[in-house]
């Protein structure tokens, strides 16, 4: 089926006017599937890291949210081992006026503001609450080990 005008326009703008610190490139053979990178926000334990994600636009998009998942291993209370993200705008608070770029900005913001009270990775959230310093240390270490140069 032909790609809706909306997806074409969004993709065009992602290329012509990219968001600083974020890239999203569609696959040639599937224009609904994007390779994404997000830079870790400064002054967060993820600073300096470049995180790979995948983003898929379901058939019903934009009536339903895009599916987004981390591919790079990351130590974060709201992101689990499989890279699934606990973020309201990807679930219940999705609005069809949101876009790929705004969603990716929200994901980037989540890295800057972990929320252990609404956990997805229980063990990480637990540690985050008990010993935040140590948890941040681990997050920093993981960033160094897994998110550098996107090897």
């Amino acid at each position: 089926m032909a790609l809706p005008k909306r997806i074409i326009k969004e993709t065009e703008r992602l290329v012509s006017d990219p968001v600083p610190g974020i890239t999203a490139v569609p696959h040639d053979d599937n224009l609904r599937y994007f390779d994404v990178t997000v830079d870790g926000p400064s002054q967060s334990p993820y600073e300096g890291g470049v995180f790979k994600l995948e983003l898929f636009l379901p058939e019903e998009y934009p009536m339903v949210a895009p599916k987004v998942r981390f591919l790079t291993k990351i130590y974060h209370p709201n992101i689990d081992k499989l890279g699934r993200i606990c973020l309201d705008v990807l679930k219940t608070n999705w609005s069809p006026a949101l876009q790929i770029r705004t969603i990716l900005l929200s994901v980037q913001a989540l890295l800057g503001a972990p929320n252990p009270d609404d956990p997805l990775a229980n063990d990480v959230a637990q540690r985050w609450k008990e010993d935040e310093r140590a948890a941040i240390g681990t997050a920093r270490e993981w960033t160094k080990n897994y998110a550098h140069d996107a090897a």
Partner: protein, 540 residues
Amino acid sequence: MKFAKVFQQLLDEENIPKEWVGTAIQYKSLKKCINKVVEELEELGLEKETLQLLLAYEKAQRNHAQSSGVSGKGRPKLIYSFEGTLHEFVPKITINLDNVNGMPLSAAISPETRAKLASLASDVSRRSSHISAVRDDSDSINSIPNSPEERDIYVSDREDVQTDGCDGGDTITIGGSTSTANEPMTTHKSEAPYQKGLQYGLRNLFKPEYNIMQFAGSKGVGSSSDDVRDAPDGPEAPLGGIPSTIEIHLHSDSEFFKMLCSELVALDSLHEEQEKELTEQVTDIARRLPHAASPLQKKNDLYVWREIFRLYIDAGVFFSSLEQDHGERSVEQAKQQLTWFTDQIQQMDLMDRFKSPESKSILESFWKLNMSLLQSAQFQTLNRTATTKILKKFDKQTALTAREVFPEFYFKNPSGSVSMSVAKSVCFTMAEQLLTVIPQLDDYICPVCYLIAFKPVRLDCGHVFCIRCLVKLQRQQMDGCPICRQNVLMNANGRNMDIGLHNQMLLYFPKETKEKQSANDKEVTKEQLQFNNEKQCVIQ
């Protein structure tokens, strides 16, 4: 290459109109004037190194006060400031002294600097022979000196340094005159070694060889020669205690800034003129455009003009709206973007698609307007660079802080506040008056499907969507407006149709509305087919 040369070359080469060049910053003369300031400062013993030491000390003090959380004790020791209005002002150096022992600075300052200051104070007296600093007209003591050959050194022991008013009652103004200062100075020199320190040097200032004017209270007047007091000779003769402030008005300093100021004022009025002229051009084009592009005209160029303006907005000639480099563009970038815009028009053969005979001349006017705007921006940038450079040079050679103090002074004056660039304000008028003549599709799209929001439904919160998307959202039982999340979606109905907007879309976007309508029809048919198929499945 020296900037003076580069500046001149740019003024010559870039086709800047002759009548503008006359108003450009006179970089060379200003540069010469800086040399005079340096000389004059040296004469006073305020060489660059001395000032640098003083300022470095100031900074250290301030930092210390900030980091320790204690507000800096007492007043700054050295202040460089401007006083007055743009037409009548005076730059001055104020040095505050410790009023207990007459030392200019606390013990923390190096002995070297102290010695320098000491020699400054004595220099003031010693050399006053060269610097006719007497003020014969005592009434004008508190006014701004503006006759060319004078330099004033005020010494006062008031706490308030900012005003020269003589309300303190114990202000002492001292000036040495050519006639009286020279002769006794020699004797004094032999008697008094200045090296002893500033206190000593300052006392030299009070030597009776100089005209000493003492005035008190509201009187504030003393005629110089009458008020000379016969104080005992020698350095040990203090007069009325130790002053706390030395205020120095340099003649060359005023000359420099008066020159710079009048040039800036002239430039401002030139820019104002340009702005007015260019704004008129915008208005003129905006007036002519509807004849060529109105959908009510038979042979109109609505779509061609929309394309032209869309390209122009995309080009962002003077201001970029992209995430990576938003804001004002440099002249070079603006030039590039304007070329891109012109190239695009040619590549797309937009000129050939004109049907209305007027369109071509309007486009030419529009192009000319942009060229003038570019030229004006270029001239403005050049002068801005020259101003920054000359102030930098001034600071570098004198160690004074004009780069910091002068712009602040200039822009707080109402007559000097035309700081906005010509490009900015003309572009604003363009965006407001001209580009709005042709509505752009981007302003009429549905935020869900990104197609024209035809037939438009305006929710109770004010946000507009196409009817197709609204129906789909209602089917999903989504009550929140996609933009503002207010629960207004489910109760939207026929009365939410925006008829005015609907008609406007039909008029200005005949092609787009047609396309959208047929796309909607297709989608509905498809949905019904699907619905029927599903029903069949259920039956089976």
